[in-house]
């Protein structure tokens, strides 16, 4: 049964404020700890979600108070699945320059997506580029 696969699920709509994103993040991290995820995994998820929420609120919705961010999240002892959608115009992740290239290394932005990809097991954007779906498989105990 689905409830057995995902003991914790949440669907939330938040305003375009980073404070609102933080409350969601705190709930998710609390659930991971409750499901006995390791500190390293919790840190990885924390970083990826922080980056994804900031991207949705600041870059996607441009902090427009009339726009919202839609979040769906599921957590099991083994896996986290999360989808974050904003109401912005979207973007093409492949157009973001590689921040590790020598010519871009001193540019102070553009590292969020790279960190999301490094710290999560899977990161995918929809075609429009306003919705990111991420999964994290916890490390073997």
């Amino acid at each position: 049964m689905a409830t057995e696969l995902w003991p914790w699920k949440a669907d939330l709509v938040i305003p375009s404020e980073t404070g609102a994103g933080k409350r969601v993040l705190d709930d998710v991290l609390e659930q991971l700890a409750a499901h006995d995820w390791s500190e390293h995994d919790v840190h990885s998820v924390h970083l990826a979600l922080e980056e994804a929420l900031v991207n949705a609120i600041r870059h996607g919705n441009r902090s427009d108070p009339d726009k919202r961010v839609f979040i769906s999240c599921k957590i099991s002892p083994e896996r986290l699945w999360i989808q974050i959608r904003d109401e912005g115009a979207g973007f093409k992740p492949e157009d973001v320059p590689d921040p590790t290239d020598e010519e871009h290394i001193e540019i102070p932005s553009g590292r969020g997506i790279m960190l999301m990809r490094a710290f999560m097991s899977r990161v995918e954007y929809n075609d429009v580029g306003n919705c990111v779906e991420m999964e994290k498989q916890r490390l073997a105990r």
Partner: protein
């Protein structure tokens, strides 16, 4: 000397040692403030030798990395030197993934950083 809210600033000889007050360098307002205080050390207080001690920090987002990159540029533009120290493994991973461990001079601890000037 200007008052700092996000930083603890001390001097060891002619080197300025900066410790971060916050464990998590996350929200936008704090990061903005942090950037302003860091840049002030270089641009207004003319400090040319800086060690940033990360011993208290256990979380750093990409926006905070951006401030460090800008600081590094400002220090280099004035022929100064910036060193980072006491970075815990989870945070070092962030520097390594983004290859910023190549851009910054990162030392294990403050004594190593001070000895490297």
């Amino acid at each position: 000397m200007a008052a700092h809210r996000r930083l603890e600033v001390s001097e060891v000889g002619d080197v300025t040692v900066v410790r971060f007050v916050d464990r998590k360098i996350l929200d936008e307002a704090s990061i903005q403030e942090l950037g302003t205080e860091l840049f002030q050390l270089v641009e207004q207080e003319n400090r040319g030798k800086l060690v940033l001690n990360f011993s208290k920090v256990d979380f750093l987002s990409s926006a905070a990395l951006g401030k460090l990159i800008t600081l590094d540029k400002k220090v280099k533009a004035r022929s100064g030197k910036l060193k980072l120290s006491n970075i815990r493994p989870e945070i070092y991973e962030v520097f390594a993934i983004t290859k910023l461990n190549k851009l910054f001079d990162i030392k294990d601890d403050e004594a190593d950083a001070l000895a490297a000037f």
